[in-house]
């Protein structure tokens, strides 16, 4: 009798352990299951509403582009699950694909229009170029790391972005033969703004440069060239963080 009771309690114990393991396994499978195209579209829509519109980006062309470009195609496989998260992601060579909000904010900042020619310095994954390509006529993008340039070019080609031209090289000198540009976007500044890029900016054009730590963009600098060619800058706070400026209440 005593033996049977022991066996029975062991069986119950085994059953409990088994069900726990099955639950964990199912949970893991569910967690790691990759969404289909529809789910990706839903994630994009959620990304736009929760991370971008809520923080004040209003430009309809920008929002449409952010809803269209499949960000998950631009992130490393290891980070696929985080493709639409509110964060930058590493893409190798110490480079990142920017936080979605920063991409949207910088795009809006350039005031891109159909027919514009835009120069991007620092192609990275190609995501920012793809977003711009949804709005403007042509995007010229330069990447200093050969491997990143190749993979971005292949990716952009595969996704059908025929109006993006990728070049491997030193973006410091811009792309003089295609200049002037209506807008220039520089994805990293190391202490100064390259003079050749300012020269290649059209009068009336705008340039956006994020400067800050690798952990997260801290400051965006907007450079404007007026019709007479005079340059002015504006330091912008990328993340609307009014409570911090007022101090915690």
């Amino acid at each position: 009798m005593r033996t049977r009771r022991t066996l029975s309690s062991r069986a119950v114990g085994a059953l409990r352990v088994g069900s726990l393991a099955a639950t964990i396994a199912l949970g893991a499978v569910a967690y790691h299951a990759r969404p289909g195209q529809e789910s990706w579209a839903e994630e994009r829509a959620r990304m736009v509403s929760d991370q971008i519109v809520s923080r004040g980006v209003r430009d309809t062309a920008t929002l449409r582009a952010m809803r269209t470009v499949p960000r998950h195609e631009f992130v490393p496989r290891a980070y696929l699950d985080a493709a639409y998260d509110d964060r930058p992601l590493p893409i190798g060579f110490g480079q990142t694909i920017s936080q979605p909000y920063i991409v949207a904010y910088m795009t809006e900042l350039l005031r891109p229009k159909p027919g514009d020619r835009v120069l991007e310095v620092g192609t990275g994954s190609g995501y920012q170029a793809a977003v711009l390509a949804e709005i403007v006529a042509d995007v010229y993008t330069i990447e200093i790391f050969d491997e990143l340039a190749k993979t971005a070019a292949a990716r952009l080609g595969r996704l059908g972005h025929r109006n993006v031209y990728v070049r491997h090289g030193d973006g410091y000198f811009g792309w003089p033969e295609k200049s002037p540009f209506d807008a220039v976007i520089v994805t990293a500044a190391a202490g100064h703004i390259p003079p050749p890029l300012l020269e290649q900016l059209k009068p009336g054009g705008r340039m956006a440069i994020p400067v800050g730590s690798v952990y997260g963009v801290q400051t965006l600098v907007l450079v404007e060239k007026d019709r007479e060619g005079r340059l002015t800058t504006e330091s912008l706070l990328p993340v609307r963080f009014v409570p911090l400026l007022r101090g915690p209440r």
């Binding site: 410091y172 100064h192 300012l198 800050g212 706070l237 101090g247």
Partner: protein, 808 residues
């Protein structure tokens, strides 16, 4: 079989060397605060060893020596395995706020680092358990060994590149293991130790690990540029320097948007993987250096030629070039890193060598000490920006910075000749903070020197990415104002403040709302309640930095940090002061882990006791201190652990001002305290105090006296050379540290049984670990004086706990 004190000494030396070396290696591979965090948590291994031995006391009883030998043999294995394991792990702490899997990796890193501390801690505790009657001698040997480990580490870092150094610690541990083997040791153990000696020796020559520098630092990125060539490397205890040249690498901090020329070819200099400047290649013609005339820091030259220029923290020499290009005949360049100075001249030809040019005098050392002690005077003193924006971005909140305090700016101002100018350039961040604190600090410095109407002696210039604060004690003249306006207009810079001069109609090129710099300058000019109100209402902490609280880069208020952490990472990450958050995280982790290691085992044993098992006796011994009956020992040994670390941390910060570099301050403090405490402990071996609580009580009183004496150490630095100051520090530390070696063995004599000894060891170890981040937070928020007082209180509490126990 006896455990030799010499073996304990070597084991302790190896573990302390490992601790300091890992702080250096992590500082190169990641950032200083991650180093601090990882090593602080790994030190929990020492406390954990005490917990484990308290639980296993009965099983080990009588076999302490063989278990000691086994632990001593395992120690070098763990010391060699640690760097290999850490190198293999995908450790990327920069992603920790976003990527949950990084927590697992961090856990693995901590475990890999904690293993040697666990084993070394176990060795010392086993030795104390084995022969409690010789506790003073064994504890003294441990302290002496740790002190020698600290000195030895400095020597190792002079002789060897940092990645070779951990294997030296392993060699010391092998020697400790060899001494742990008795004469009757079996052949297998002897063969094993011999093999370990060979492996450690080979690892010294050819370490099987690399320093895995995070891809987000400047050095790996520069190395990855097409055509990049690493020209040279240098190392010394203060840092590991690499020089990289690449066609795509360019350095012109804050260059004007109006500049239309080209930059000369440059070689980047990286200290511990972070950019500190660049050397330009030029043929000796000033026209080649046109770009330096378009840097914001050139503003001071707009007001006239400067004969004698001092470039502070000269780095790659851009301010030297600027002085040369502006015709300064005599330039003094002060740079802290010998490696930077050496490579700056070595990697380029003689004509381009910044420090070796005629008219340039290089001073290798701390600029604050130079300002305090040099009798020279200058027409211009330049504090240039260093590195890039990323380098300025919230990574240095914990840095003790005696170069940017009221006292340091005061020293600089008093070195100015008539009509001389002090120019301080800072990167612009949002919300503005570094530049605002510079304005506040120079205003306080001017007032401390007796100047009134400080606003009329300030000018503030702002570019698209940096701010220059100019200070002219003799006031800016109309000619100066006109020159500055012209300079600003041609360079597209904004003149934010020039008191007494009409700035209406001055064009604005760089929009920044609100115009904080002007508000700050106005507030500090008014002083009194106006300034107070500005500081109070400003979103971050920007009050002047002082020698008493020398944390120039710490801006986040404690309540803001906690408030920010409740926000989603994507919102607070851009504003985070990582060093500060790392201290908070370390403190939280340390308290939680210490509680888990102290309380959970106690609970387990109590349950065993309650169930009436065979180990009731063990239970009665081990958990008792945590549950009332022997609570005095928790307060006593915990108080000693807290107090000792508090005192060490306070002295490290103070000695940095005297010795000029944190590495020297750490090595000098640790070695002096541990060696002298070892002497004190050994002295106590054959003596008996009438009352055991006296020892901790005397330390508490001495600390109160020291806190009063050292409340303002700055005054001494002006007059005395480093050697004399080091001697004064040594003489000051000797009596204190010697007495501090006595309370621990004095307390051990009051307890009985191996479990209680191990328990005391655990409590002491955990308290030390909690003390390190706690002392840093106290120092940041209330100043170092408070930390010394905290040490006095800790020893006072310990003394009272023991006094009460003795009476009962």
């Amino acid at each position: 079989m006896r455990i030799r004190p010499a073996s304990v000494l070597l084991v302790s030396a190896a573990s302390l060397a490992f601790e300091i070396l890992w702080l250096r290696l992590f500082a190169i591979a990641e950032y200083h605060h991650f180093a601090y965090m990882a090593v602080a948590v790994a030190l929990l291994g020492i406390g954990a060893s005490g917990t484990a031995l308290a639980l296993l006391a009965e099983r080990i009883r009588g076999r302490e020596a063989p278990v000691y030998a086994t632990s001593a043999i395992a120690l070098p294995i763990s010391l060699l395995a640690g760097p290999v394991v850490v190198g293999l792990l995908p450790f990327e702490p920069t992603q920790i706020v976003f990527d949950r899997s990084q927590w697992l990796v961090v856990g693995a890193v901590v475990l890999a680092l904690a293993a040697p501390f666990f084993l070394a801690g176990a060795c010392v505790a086993l030795a104390l358990q084995h022969e409690p009657e010789r506790s003073s001698a064994l504890y003294g040997a441990s302290l002496l060994g740790s002190g020698l480990g600290a000195v030895g580490t400095l020597a190792i870092l002079v002789l060897l590149p940092p990645q070779h150094a951990p294997a030296i610690a392993a060699l010391a541990a092998v020697a400790g293991a060899a001494l742990a083997l008795g004469r009757d040791a079996d052949r297998a153990a002897v063969a094993g130790v011999s093999l370990l000696a060979v492996v450690a020796g080979v690892a010294v020559m050819r370490p099987p690990w690399e320093i895995p520098i995070t891809a987000f630092k400047g050095l790996p990125q520069a190395r990855a540029y097409p055509g990049a060539v690493e020209r040279a490397r240098a190392w010394d205890p203060t840092g590991w320097v690499a020089a990289v040249e690449a066609p795509a690498f360019r350095y012109a901090p804050g260059l004007s948007l109006a500049f239309r020329g080209a930059l000369p070819p440059q070689v980047g200099l990286f200290l511990d993987g972070e950019l500190v400047g660049a050397v330009s290649r030029w043929e000796g013609e000033p026209e080649e250096l046109e770009f330096v005339r378009w840097l914001p820091s050139a503003a001071a030259y707009a007001m006239g030629r400067r004969e004698q220029v001092l470039a502070v923290a000269a780095g790659g020499g851009v301010e030297i070039l600027s002085a040369l290009a502006h015709g300064a005949p005599k330039i003094t360049a002060v740079e802290l890193s010998p490696g930077v100075v050496r490579l700056a001249d070595e990697v380029v030809d003689r004509l381009s060598a910044p420090y070796g040019r005629p008219g340039v005098r290089a001073v290798v050392g701390d600029a604050r000490l130079y300002l305090d002690r040099s009798g020279e005077t200058f027409d211009l003193i330049q504090f240039g920006p260093s590195g890039t924006f990323a380098g300025a971005a919230s990574l240095h909140a914990l840095d003790v910075d005696y170069l940017n305090t009221v006292e340091a700016y005061g020293a600089a101002l008093s070195r100015l000749r008539p009509h001389g100018v002090l120019a301080i350039t800072r990167w612009l961040r949002l919300p503005p903070r570094d530049d605002v604190r510079v304005i506040a600090t120079v205003a306080a410095a001017l007032r401390s020197l007796g100047y009134e109407d400080v606003g009329s002696r300030l000018a503030v210039l702002r570019s698209w990415g940096s701010v220059v604060v100019l200070v002219k004690p003799d006031r800016f003249t109309d000619a100066d104002a006109a020159a500055l306006r012209a300079f600003a207009e041609t360079r597209l810079f904004d003149l934010d403040w020039l008191a007494g001069h009409d700035l209406s109609g001055v064009p604005r090129f760089n929009v920044l709302e609100p115009r904080v710099q002007a508000r700050a300058a106005r507030a500090v000019s008014e002083g009194g309640e106006v300034a107070e109100s500005f500081f109070r209402e400003y979103p971050v902490h920007v009050r002047p930095a002082t020698d008493a609280r020398p944390f120039f880069s710490h801006f986040l208020r404690a309540r803001q940090a906690l408030w920010l952490l409740r926000r989603p990472p994507a919102e607070w990450a851009p504003y985070a002061e990582w060093g500060y958050l790392a201290v908070l995280a370390t403190l939280a982790q340390s308290v939680l882990l210490a509680a888990a290691f102290l309380l959970v085992p106690a609970w387990v044993v109590r349950r065993r006791a309650a169930s009436g098992g065979a180990r009731v006796e063990v239970a009665a011994r081990a958990p008792a201190p945590a549950f009332g009956a022997r609570s005095w020992s928790v307060f006593y040994f915990g108080g000693l652990g807290l107090g000792y670390l508090f005192v060490e941390m306070a002295f490290i910060q103070r000695l940095q001002l005297w010795l000029g570099h944190p590495v020297y301050a750490v090595a000098a403090t640790l070695s002096a305290f541990l060696l002298f405490s070892g002497v004190g402990s050994l002295w106590y071996q054959r003596r008996v105090l009438p009352r055991a609580w006296w020892a901790a009580g005397v330390v508490a009183v001495m600390l109160l006296v020291y806190a009063w004496i050292f409340r303002d150490p700055g005054g001494l630095t002006a007059a005395l050379p480093t050697g004399v100051l080091a001697a004064i520090a040594g003489i000051a530390v000797f009596p204190l540290a010697t007495v501090m070696g006595i309370p621990f063995p004095a307390g051990l004599r009051q307890i009985e049984g191996p479990a209680a000894i191990a328990w005391a060891w655990a409590v002491n170890g955990f308290a030390s670990v909690v003390a390190a981040p706690l002392a840093t937070l106290l120092s940041l928020e209330a100043g170092m004086f408070t930390v010394l007082l905290g040490g006095a209180v800790s020893y006072g509490v310990a003394s009272l706990a023991l006094a009460r126990h003795e009476r009962s």
